[in-house]
């Protein structure tokens, strides 16, 4: 199956790039690009091999650590397929946006591909131990990507992000062990664990551990503060990946391990999760409204948009959950694009992200391609019809309306606030008063950047115009046997 190859290709790519040596950045870029494109092709091929259906397709399953019942078990259903597709796209776009990396390029791309390996691994794991291993594997490269190649307060941002992630995974670890031992299955098979009928008493305290542990990485308020600082400190490609796929790791874990294995706990804690998610949506939007740093605005907007994912999950109905998965994809594409524009197209040329300074540069004239891209991305981010964000957020809001009407209303306010902060930053950064000052370095937007931007923008547009293309997969995935216990517990048809 082609999906399995995504992991091996990325891993081999990482080794290959590292061995290419630091002396030849161009060769490193090309190897990395080829590896990521090959991975992306493999995801697309694999997606069609899995097909739109309500099945869990096993890709690989071999015993790994026999005494503990650990298997190396890769499998895919519609939900994982959608996120794997996102990873493939984001990986390619990230490399295109880091075409200007020349310092220690081999290490940069090796870490980048290692991170991608971990992400693919998480999305395809159906063994809980393996899931956890890949999840942890994805943390360390992030630290180095930010600490070595980052900008503003990079070491602080990198350490903060890594420690938050590790605290999250420590919580998850305790929950994972509790699940394994309480299930009495002597197996880490996620589906078996889900169907084992975990005692509700254990679910009551293990669910918050697992859910919060994962959701820290999804930017759950009040544990979200790593995200803006981390995003701001990160080099462009890393912030694209962070917002684009790594935050989804958290949300996916919360769904796949938290809700799927412990639905009773999920039902019990849903009001709390919905409250935190809504507070996150509104407060992050308010904070984004007053930021002076371009990247901080996008960073907080990420937290706000990820709140919709968590709200959709908390609503625990088919519409809300499938909306949440769609929002993971949609936000992954749009946030990647926004960070690409801010970090690569603007910051690498102007060397500032201060909105007051950018206002005086007349970027719309100096960098028209960046301005147009950002405008379209902003439109998508605001949730205007025609782009993926609209469909996803509508779904989440409808789902949430059925479960938590007050939260849905508050989240609706969040949407309005999102329009406000997005328009503000668009106006300040690009549409300042006419001026004769030009940025010192107004190199035209390069071809790789254009390709990356078009790739992401096109994806968002296609999904926005024809959401069925993904919703079919997602709904099929939520109907797979893996989610049987969860559907029953939530009373889904």
């Amino acid at each position: 199956m082609a999906l399995t190859w995504t992991i091996w290709i990325s891993m081999l790519g990482a080794v290959g790039v590292y061995l290419a040596g630091p002396g030849n950045p161009a060769r490193c870029r090309w190897i990395a690009l080829m590896a990521s494109v090959a991975g992306c092709v493999a995801t697309v091929v694999g997606t069609f091999q899995v097909g739109v259906n309500s099945e869990l397709v096993t890709l690989v399953r071999v015993p790994w650590v026999k005494p503990l019942g650990i298997d190396f078990h890769l499998a895919a259903d519609g939900v994982s397929v959608v996120l794997v597709l996102l990873t493939g796209l984001a990986a390619v776009a990230g490399i295109l946006f880091s075409w200007n990396i020349s310092v220690r390029a081999n290490e940069f791309f090796a870490l980048y591909l290692l991170l991608i390996t971990g992400v693919y691994g998480v999305f395809l794991s159906f063994d809980l131990f393996q899931f956890f291993a890949f999840y942890e594997l994805a943390i360390v490269p992030k630290y180095f990507l930010i600490a070595i190649w980052g900008s503003t307060r990079r070491e602080y941002g990198a350490m903060k992000l890594a420690l938050y992630s590790f605290i999250g995974s420590a919580l998850v670890l305790v929950g994972v062990l509790a699940i394994y031992l309480a299930s009495g299955t002597s197996s880490f098979d996620l589906v078996r664990l889900a169907n084992s009928g975990l005692p509700p008493g254990v679910q009551t305290w293990a669910f918050p551990l697992v859910f919060v542990g994962f959701a820290i990485l999804a930017g759950l308020w009040p544990f979200h503060t790593w995200a803006p600082t981390g995003h701001v400190a990160a080099p462009t490609a890393a912030s694209m990946l962070l917002a684009g796929v790594v935050m989804k790791l958290g949300a996916y874990g919360a769904l796949r391990v938290g809700m799927m294995v412990m639905p009773h706990g999920a039902a019990l804690w849903a009001p709390v999760v919905a409250t935190l998610a809504t507070v996150g949506i509104v407060s992050a939007a308010l904070v984004a409204l007053v930021q002076q740093d371009f990247k901080f605005v996008i960073g907080y907007s990420s937290v706000s948009h990820m709140g919709f994912v968590l709200l959709g999950l908390a609503s625990a109905n088919p519409r809300g959950v499938s909306g949440a998965v769609l929002q993971m994809f949609s936000h992954g594409v749009i946030a990647g694009l926004l960070f690409g524009v801010v970090g690569r197209m603007v910051y690498d040329r102007t060397h500032t992200r201060e909105l007051t300074l950018l206002e005086g540069l007349g970027l719309a004239r100096a960098l028209p391609f960046a301005a147009v891209t950002f405008t379209l991305a902003a439109v998508a981010s605001m949730g205007l019809p025609g782009f993926s964000g609209f469909v996803a957020e509508m779904q989440v809001l409808t789902g949430a309306w059925q479960a938590f009407p007050v939260a849905a209303l508050a989240a609706g306010v969040g949407v309005v606030l999102a329009v406000a902060f997005t328009l503000r930053v668009l106006q300040k950064a690009f549409l300042g008063p006419p001026t004769t000052v030009t940025p010192e370095d107004a190199t035209p937007i390069t071809l790789p950047e254009k390709c990356g931007a078009l790739l992401l923008l096109g994806t968002s547009l296609v999904v926005g115009l024809y959401p069925k293309i993904l919703l079919d997969w997602i709904d099929g995935g939520l109907g797979s046997p893996a989610f049987a216990t969860m559907r029953k517990a939530f009373g889904w048809p």
Binding site: A133, Y143, I148, L163, A178
Partner: protein, 497 residues
């Protein structure tokens, strides 16, 4: 009891080979005399030592008989042979790391004492008798005291040796006193006989005092808080290959015997400690040591600026994790603990190998000597990254699975009620603390720019090869834990656990 000396010779042939090797090394070194070039003598001494160890492994692998002699004085079964082979392998690593060290001209004595320490550790691993345990422990300890102070021109090393010796002597006294109290309570010196007596006698105050004192003695050997004070000084002051020997071989032997005492000798007085219900006994004591070690070890490591001291405090913290799993008190605990200390020992050996090479090139092991290592010596830095991340417990490295297993075992205590959740939670929390100092150390190595001119990297072929082998082992065991778990499980089963 009549002693069959032929049987004794057969069962302790492995140890005998090592002792003979030590004597041969001494003899050859004497014969060559100080007129011969130091490098030649070093080559001969270490080479012969390695040869002896390899021969012993071969004997244990193919020929060594199973059996027991003198009321458990020495037991030879699959498990003890397995542990002895690990100890021999680790000693080979230490010898290879010592191949070019310039800390002493008395190279013959150095290798001989190292091998005698190894004999002590092998005897520890093979015994089920408290008297032999004490004697073997003393043999190993005295050798280590000498080795720590081996560079007599280095005041720091001498200070460390004296400190180590004074602490160790006191701990030995405690251990002996404790063992005598246990003998007084049970009238037995054999692990299994003690267990039999205790199963009917129950916990008496006298016995409890004995248990505490035994744990003081062994807690010193494994550097558990509050008996850890010697560790940072000894690690820092000792010649680096010796530090690797303390961190690797000595840890394996000490933890193995601690596990065996827990499982074989004291199961009847294990007691328990969960959610406020405490029954006094052996495992609550272990739990206290575990909690203290995890907290103090990790917190103290935060402020270290010397890599050897940092590794020492990290060793203290790891002792806490291992003790946490030992609280389980049954075969599963012994299994997980033995697996973990073996992987830990390989990691520590490799890490000290890197430290040794960096010291040789830059003259120290402080942070400034490691700054920007990844751009000065990429291969070495990569290996160091592997070791440190394995200590931190990052997949796909050996430390990840090992630590996962330790936590799993601790979590399984008490069946469905997760009685030890408090300790597991504490362990998880302190692990988060440890990530901070491990990442900061890696930041120094990988993120910060190297300063000053070019270093002269010695052509440490053998040392570097040892480090690489250890790194490959750490990655290999991490990806395929079954390679070690399987044989260990078989050995445990064959030994009747």
């Amino acid at each position: 009891m009549a002693m069959n000396y032929f049987e004794l010779a057969r069962l302790t042939l492995a140890e005998a080979i090592v002792v003979v090797t030590a004597l041969v090394v001494l003899g050859v070194d004497l014969k060559m005399g100080s007129a011969t070039a130091l490098a030649t003598r070093r080559g001969w001494a270490c080479g012969l030592g390695v040869l002896g160890c390899v021969a012993t492994v071969a004997w244990l692998w193919v020929g060594a008989p199973a059996g027991s002699i003198g009321g458990g004085m020495q037991v030879s079964d699959a498990l003890t042979r397995w542990v002895k082979m690990v100890l021999l392998g680790l000693t080979v690593g230490t010898l290879l790391l010592s191949g070019r060290s310039a800390f002493s001209v008395h190279i013959g004595e150095y290798v001989a004492v190292l091998l005698l320490g190894l004999v002590g550790m092998m005897l520890i691993a093979g015994t089920e008798n408290v008297l032999v345990l004490f004697l073997a422990l003393e043999l190993a300890s005295v050798s280590l005291y000498i080795l720590v102070g081996f560079n007599k021109r280095d005041p720091q090393g001498t200070e460390a040796a004296v400190k180590y010796f004074l602490f160790g002597g006191m701990a030995g006294a405690f251990l002996l006193f404790g063992l005598s109290l246990i003998y007084g309570a049970t009238g037995a010196i054999e692990f299994r006989a003690i267990a039999l007596k205790l199963s009917t006698a129950g916990v008496s105050p006298l016995l409890l005092v004995g248990l505490v004192m035994v744990l003081v003695g062994l807690g010193f050997k494994v550097a558990a808080v509050p008996f850890h004070f010697w560790a940072p000084d000894a690690y820092q002051g000792a010649p680096t290959p010796v530090a690797s020997f303390i961190a690797a071989g000595s840890k394996v032997a000490a933890f193995f015997i601690l596990g065996k005492l827990t499982v074989v000798a004291f199961p009847a007085v294990s007691g328990h400690w969960s959610w406020g219900s405490v029954a006094p006994g052996w495992t609550p004591l272990l739990a206290m040591l575990a909690a203290a070690s995890m907290v103090i070890g990790n917190l103290a490591a935060l402020s270290q600026r010397n890599v050897k001291r940092l590794l020492a405090y990290s060793a203290v913290a790891h002792a806490g994790y291992v003790l946490m799993a030992l609280v389980e008190g049954k075969t599963l605990g012994l299994f997980a603990v033995t697996f973990y200390v073996v992987t830990y020992a390989i990691t520590a050996l490799g890490a000290f190998g890197v430290v040794s090479l960096v010291e040789a090139a830059t003259g120290g092991a402080d942070w400034e000597h490691f700054r920007g290592l990844s751009q000065r010596a990429p291969g070495l830095a990569l290996c160091f990254g592997v070791f440190v991340l394995s200590l931190a417990g990052i997949p796909p490295l050996a430390g990840f699975f090992g630590k996962f297993y330790l936590f799993l075992v601790a979590m399984s205590v008490g069946g469905g009620d997760f009685g030890l959740l408090w300790l597991v939670g504490l362990g998880a929390a302190t692990t988060c603390v440890s990530f901070f100092y491990y990442l900061r150390l890696l930041k120094v190595v990988f993120v910060e720019a190297p300063e000053g001119g070019k270093d002269v990297w010695p052509k440490g072929g053998l040392e570097f090869a040892t480090v690489v082998v250890a790194a490959v082992g750490v990655v290999g065991i991490g990806c395929m834990p079954g390679f070690v778990l399987g044989p260990l499980q078989n050995a445990l089963a064959a030994a009747g656990f």
